[in-house]
């Protein structure tokens, strides 16, 4: 099955990004395809390269980056939501790209299932 993933909450404050990551990883391990991971609302905060969690904690941003690199995932950050929250190309982590909400709607059209992770 081909999944679209929507992440609506930021890292650490909320479990949404962790659960979305675990779901995406598990789906890939089961042989499913991921059409796209779209970051919206505070979810855009998963994409800043300025994130520096304590060393004994998981690095949520890098975890997404690695999963994307290993599986050629398309990690898309909503431009309007990102600009509102100070995320721009200059602080965007490698492996993410900034684009429009059309990418989310398109993921709903192209994927067999769109799964939302949020509050």
């Amino acid at each position: 099955m081909k999944f679209g993933i929507l992440v609506n909450e930021g890292p650490y404050t909320h479990q949404a990004s962790d659960t979305a990551y675990q779901f995406t990883k598990a789906a890939l391990e089961k042989g499913h395809k991921i059409h796209r991971v779209f970051f919206y609302h505070d979810g855009v905060n998963n994409s800043t390269r300025l994130t520096e969690p304590p060393q004994d904690d998981r690095n949520i941003v890098q975890r997404w980056q690695k999963l994307a690199a290993d599986h050629k995932l398309d990690l898309v950050v909503c431009v309007a939501a990102a600009l509102r929250r100070g995320i721009k190309d200059e602080n965007l982590a490698e492996g993410f790209r900034i684009s429009g909400l059309g990418q989310l709607v398109e993921s709903g059209i192209q994927a067999d299932r769109l799964v939302t992770f949020g509050d």
Binding site: L101, G102, E106, G108
Partner: protein, 139 residues
Amino acid sequence: MGTDMTESTGGIDMDEQTSGVVKKFLYVNRKAPYGTIYALESLEVVLIAAAFDQDVSLAFIDDGVYQIIKGQHTKNIDVKNFSPTYRALEGYDIEKLYVEKESMDARGLTQADLLVDVKIVTAAEMADLMESQDVVMSF
């Protein structure tokens, strides 16, 4: 990306990437219009979605019913009152708006309190509506 990619389609070359597929999209609004940004950013998705020629419906449940209530005044909290946008949805051919009866009743609201025409449905009917959709986005 094609050259006809525009702001209105949110970074998508329509012909190439949607290939004429029409799905039933339901946007579920569950939160009060102010206090969090979910309602406003949900509306932004809906407006973009309108450009995709999909079969779009909106549902309002729980505190989400307050999003379409008449007489919103936000000046004193210094937040933009975006409620007039709901009245503009008709112009985008988004005319299927559903409100859960139980959420209305619990808040003492009736159709007369709302600024747009909606269909009021029971929770069970709302469940059937969700079941009938291809894509449900909940904000």
